[in-house]
C-alpha cells in the first residue's frame, strides 16, 4: 500500500477562483492510500516545493499527487522535487485541474466536483505506480541539416565551428535556397548574394561539413542520439571529382538554345539547358543533367555535353546512390515557397505576363537575372511606368482552399524595399502600394517604410485591390477602393506585383512524417513549446530552423539557425542520454510469441528469443517477446495489439489506465 500525499495548488487565483481548493483537500483525504493532503498558493514555487519535500520526509510518503496545471507544464518540476526528497520521480502523478478544469468551467461547484474526480483518478493511479529508472543511450556525434538555404547554412556552420561533424542534405543541385534568388535585402539594402555567397563557399570548404546536394532524405529510423538516415543521392550524371565547373557543357547544350526548359532559379522568366548549374555562384559548382528533358536520356541521341567536356566528367550511366549515415541530431531547415495563385483569378496572374510575384520581381531586378537587372515588362520588354503592388495576396485569408490564415510577415518590408529600389533606378516610375495594414515591427523597419513614403513618395493606399483587368492596349486596369478617402479607384498600370503568401516547402510534410515531428494545420513544424522551446520539435533530437517553423525574415532566420545550432551542440556534447523509462515490458509467462506486437512497433524495438521459463512449476523453453529499452519510445501500440495482455507499458499500465477509468466512473 502506498502512502500518498496530495498537494492542491491554488495557482494564485487561476485554480482557486473556480475550484474550492480546501474542499478538494478535504475530500481526497479519505481516498485509499492518502495519508496527507494540503494546499498551497503556488505549488511549483520554491516554497511550495519545500512543502512537498517536508511532507515526504515527515509522513514517509511513497507517492505524490499534485493537483495543479497540466503535467505538460510542471510534471518535470515535481518529479525533480520528489527526487530531491529521495522519492523516485516516477511516483508522481499530476491531476490537471487548471487547463482541464478551472480554466474551462465557470460553475464553482461543478469545477470542484470535477477536480476531486481528477484527483481521485490520479490517486488511484499512483497506488499502482512503481519506481522507474531511466536508462542510458549513447550519442552519435554528428548532425544532419535538412535544407541548404540560409537557415541550414547558418546552422551547419555554427555546429561545424563548434567541432562537430555536420551533413547538409539539399534537394536542389546547389545550396543557397531562396535567399540566393533575392536581389537586395531589407532594411539595409545589402546585396543578397554578396552576403550569402561567402557563407556558401565556407560551407563547401569547411572540414566538418559534408554536402549532399541534389539529394533527398529517404528514410529515418532510430531516435534521439541515434538516428539512422538513408540519403538518396540522385544521379547528377556528372562526375563530381572530374568536373572543373568550367560550364562548357551548359553553353553547348542544344536545348539551351531552343529554350524550352524554364529555369527554376529564375522562376520561369528565363530558360535553361538540360545540363545546367542553377546559377553562376552555385555551390558545388558542378552541373547536373535534367534527365527528364535531356535529349540523350529521352532518345539516346545527342551526347554533345559528353563529347565536349574537357575533363570527361559527364557520365550518363551514373545511378542514384543511397547512403546510410548515423546522426545524433537532425535540424529541419526546409524553408518556404510562395503559394500557388491559380485560385486568385481576379488578379489575372495566369492571364497577363505583366502580373508577377515579388520573387519574380527580385529576379527581374537582379543584375544576374533574366533581364540583366533591367526592369521590363515580360510582354513587350518595355520599361513599366506605373507599377502597382498588391499586398496580402493569400495571406490573412480565411478561406482554406484559397490562401493562408496567417500573416506572411515579410511582404510589407520587401515591398517597401522593391518600391525604393525601383525609384532609385528609375525615379520617374509611379508606384502605388495597396495595403490592408502596413506591419513594420522590427529594428529600423518602420523608418524604412516611412522612407519609402516620405523620401521616395511611394503612394500607399489602404484598400485591397478587387480586380486586375488586362486591357486591349496591353496595360492593366486595377480596380480598388481608397478606404480612407472613401473613393473607388480605377487605375491603369503597366505592371502589377503580387505579394503572394509564403507557405512551408511542400516537401516538409513527408519529411516531418519520417521524423515523426509534428506539424500544424499550415504545415509549419510545431515547436515543443511556443515560448520556451521555440527551436525544438516535440520529438526529441529534432530541431527547427528558418521558415519551416513559421514566417520570418532573414535576420530572424539567422538567429533561429544559431539557436538551433546551440541546441544541437548541447545535445552532441553529451556522451550519454537518459532514456524514457516508460517503456513497454513483456511478461514472459503470458507471452505467446505470436509476433503481433512486433508487427505494430514503429521502432523495431521488439525481437523474439527462446527463453527458459518457469511457469508455476512447469519448466519450458518458449519463444517470447523482448523489448529493446533503448529503442522503445513508450507509445504502447504493442500493448493494445497484444491479445493476452503480456505486453504492458510502464507508467501507463493496463491496470493504471483501467483504475483511472474506474475512478472517473465512480
Amino acid at each position: 500500500m502506498q502512502k500518498i500525499g496530495v498537494f492542491v495548488c491554488h495557482c494564485g487565483t487561476n485554480i482557486a477562483a473556480t475550484v474550492d481548493v480546501k474542499k478538494v483537500v478535504e475530500l481526497v483525504r479519505y481516498e485509499p492510500g492518502v495519508v496527507f493532503a494540503d494546499d498551497y498558493m503556488y505549488m511549483c514555487s520554491e516554497a511550495g516545493q519545500e512543502k512537498i519535500i517536508e511532507a515526504i520526509k515527515e509522513y514517509g510518503l511513497t507517492g505524490l499527487v499534485i493537483c495543479s496545471c497540466s503535467p505538460r507544464m510542471h510534471e518535470k518540476t515535481f518529479r525533480a522535487c520528489a527526487e530531491k526528497a529521495g522519492l523516485n520521480p516516477y511516483m508522481v502523478e499530476v491531476a490537471n485541474i487548471r487547463e482541464q478544469c478551472s480554466w474551462i468551467h465557470k460553475d464553482r461547484e461543478e469545477a470542484t466536483k470535477k477536480a476531486v474526480i481528477l484527483a481521485r483518478a490520479a490517486i488511484a493511479k499512483v497506488n499502482l505506480n512503481t519506481p522507474l529508472k531511466e536508462g542510458e543511450s549513447p550519442v552519435t556525434k554528428r548532425a544532419l541539416v535538412i535544407g541548404g538555404g540560409i537557415a541550414g547554412i547558418q546552422t551547419a556552420l555554427d555546429i561545424a565551428d563548434a567541432g562537430y561533424q555536420v551533413d547538409i542534405v539539399e534537394k536542389e543541385p546547389s545550396i543557397g535556397g531562396r535567399m540566393s534568388q533575392f536581389d537586395k535585402t531589407f532594411p539595409t539594402l545589402d546585396c543578397a548574394s554578396c552576403i550569402l555567397t561567402p557563407k556558401m563557399v565556407e560551407v563547401n570548404q569547411h572540414p566538418n561539413i559534408t554536402l549532399y546536394t541534389y539529394s533527398e532524405v529517404e528514410k529515418v529510423s532510430g531516435y534521439v542520439g541515434n538516428f539512422d538516415v538513408d540519403i538518396r543521392k540522385k544521379a547528377r550524371s556528372v562526375d563530381f571529382d572530374k568536373c572543373t565547373g568550367c560550364g562548357e557543357c551548359s553553353t553547348k547544350c542544344p536545348l539551351g538554345k531552343i529554350g524550352k526548359i524554364p529555369s527554376e532559379f529564375d522562376r520561369g522568366l528565363k530558360n535553361r539547358p538540360a545540363i545546367y548549374m542553377p546559377f553562376a555562384q552555385a555551390v558545388p559548382a558542378v552541373p547536373v543533367i535534367d534527365r527528364e528533358n535531356c535529349t540523350y536520356f529521352k532518345t539516346g541521341k545527342c551526347g554533345v555535353c559528353a563529347k565536349i567536356c574537357p575533363s570527361k566528367a559527364v557520365d550518363y550511366e551514373q545511378k542514384d546512390e543511397i547512403v546510410t549515415v548515423k546522426y545524433g541530431a537532425i535540424v529541419v531547415a526546409t524553408g518556404f515557397d510562395i503559394i500557388n495563385l491559380d485560385k486568385f483569378g481576379e488578379y489575372a496572374y495566369n492571364e497577363s505576363p505583366d502580373v508577377i510575384t515579388s520573387i519574380e520581381l527580385e529576379r527581374l531586378m537582379n543584375a544576374a537575372g533574366p533581364t540583366g537587372g533591367h526592369l521590363e515588362r515580360m510582354s513587350d520588354h518595355k520599361q513599366p511606368k506605373d507599377i502597382v503592388f498588391i499586398q496580402c495576396v493569400g495571406s490573412r485569408c480565411d478561406s482554406e482552399e484559397k490562401g493562408k490564415p496567417y500573416c506572411s510577415k515579410v511582404c510589407c518590408m520587401y515591398t517597401a524595399k522593391h518600391a525604393m529600389l525601383i525609384k532609385d533606378h528609375w525615379p520617374d516610375t509611379n508606384i502605388t502600394v495597396f495595403y490592408i495594414d502596413v506591419r513594420t515591427p522590427g529594428k529600423n523597419f518602420d523608418e524604412f517604410y516611412r522612407r519609402a513614403v516620405e523620401q521616395y513618395h511611394v503612394n500607399y493606399i489602404k484598400g485591397q485591390v478587387g480586380k486586375v483587368k488586362p486591357q486591349p492596349d496591353g496595360s492593366l486596369m486595377v480596380q480598388a477602393a481608397d478606404l480612407l478617402d472613401g473613393k473607388q479607384i480605377n487605375m491603369k498600370a503597366d505592371m502589377v506585383v503580387l505579394a503572394a503568401a509564403v507557405e512551408p516547402n511542400p516537401g516538409v510534410r513527408k519529411i516531418a512524417t519520417m521524423l515523426t515531428a509534428s506539424i500544424d494545420n499550415n504545415n509549419f513544424l510545431t515547436e515543443a513549446h511556443a515560448k520556451l522551446r521555440p527551436v525544438e520539435s516535440p520529438t526529441a533530437g529534432i530541431f527547427l530552423s528558418g521558415m519551416a517553423q513559421g514566417p520570418k525574415d532573414i535576420p530572424e532566420t539567422v538567429s533561429q539557425a544559431g539557436a538551433a545550432a546551440v541546441k544541437v551542440i548541447g545535445l552532441l556534447a553529451k556522451d550519454k542520454l537518459k532514456t524514457n523509462p516508460c517503456t513497454a515490458q513483456c511478461d514472459t509467462l503470458l507471452c505467446n510469441g505470436c509476433s503481433t506486437c512486433a508487427n505494430v512497433c514503429p521502432y523495431g524495438a521488439i525481437t523474439y528469443d527462446d527463453v527458459q521459463v518457469m511457469d508455476h512449476g512447469l519448466r519450458e523453453t518458449r519463444r517470447v517477446a523482448q523489448v529493446n529499452l533503448a529503442l522503445c519510445q513508450g507509445c504502447g501500440a504493442c500493448t493494445s495489439a497484444c491479445p493476452s495482455g503480456a505486453m504492458d507499458l510502464q507508467g501507463f499500465s493496463n491496470r493504471q489506465i483501467t483504475t483511472e477509468v474506474d475512478a472517473i466512473c465512480r
Binding site: S70, P71, R72, M73, N96, R98, E99, Q100, C101, W103, I104, H105, K106, D107, E110, A111, K113, K114, I117, L118, A121, R509, A512, T513, T516, S518, I519, D520, N521, T526, P538, T539, C582, V600, P602, Y603, Q633, G634, C635, G636, A637, T639, S640, A641, L649, F652, N654, I657, T658, E660, V661, D662, I664, C665, R666
Partner: protein, 148 residues
C-alpha cells in the same frame, strides 16, 4: 418550480482518452484559451491513441460511462508515426461491432485533434456532450452492479 429543482438533471459521464502529444495538448490549449466545454468530460492521458485498448472503452461503459471519446493526432501526425493508424482500424471495427449488437451510434467517437486545435477540441467536446445528452443514460453496456 420546486418539482424541477428536486428532479435531478441528467448529466452524462464522459471519458476522453487523449494522446499526450496532440490531443492532450489540444485540451490544454482549449484551457489556456478559456474555451469551455462541459465538466462531464474527464480526460485520461495516454501516450498515444494506439495505446487505447478496446477493453478500456468497454470497461468505461461497464463502469457507467455514457460516452467514450478517443482523441489522437491527425493521421500522418502521430508522434510515434503510426499509432493512430492502428487505432483508427481498431476503433472502426469496434464501433461497428457495438452498432451491430445494438448499442446506439454516437456513444463512441474518435476525433483527431492537434495540439494547435484548442478550439476544435472544445467544439468537439461540446458536440459530443450534446450528443450523449440526447442519447441519455447508457443502459446497454453498463454493469448493473456498478450502479449500487
Amino acid at each position: 418550480m420546486s418539482m424541477n429543482e428536486e428532479k435531478k438533471e441528467y448529466r452524462p459521464l464522459i471519458v476522453a482518452f487523449c494522446c499526450n502529444w496532440c490531443s492532450y495538448a489540444g485540451a490544454d490549449l482549449a484551457g489556456s484559451s478559456r474555451l469551455s466545454y462541459p465538466a462531464d468530460v474527464k480526460i485520461i492521458r495516454v501516450p498515444c491513441s494506439g495505446r487505447v485498448n478496446p477493453m478500456f472503452i468497454l470497461r468505461a461503459f461497464e463502469r457507467g460511462a455514457d460516452g467514450v471519446i478517443i482523441c489522437g493526432c491527425h493521421p500522418g501526425d502521430c508522434h510515434y508515426s503510426t499509432g493512430n493508424y492502428y487505432a483508427r482500424r481498431r476503433m472502426a471495427l469496434l464501433f461497428s461491432m457495438l452498432e451491430y449488437i445494438g448499442v446506439e451510434n454516437g456513444r463512441t467517437r474518435v476525433e483527431w485533434c492537434s495540439a494547435a486545435e484548442g478550439a476544435k477540441f472544445s467544439k468537439t467536446m461540446n458536440e459530443f456532450c450534446e450528443k450523449i445528452q440526447s442519447l441519455g443514460e447508457n443502459v446497454r453496456l453498463g454493469d448493473l452492479r456498478c450502479k449500487n
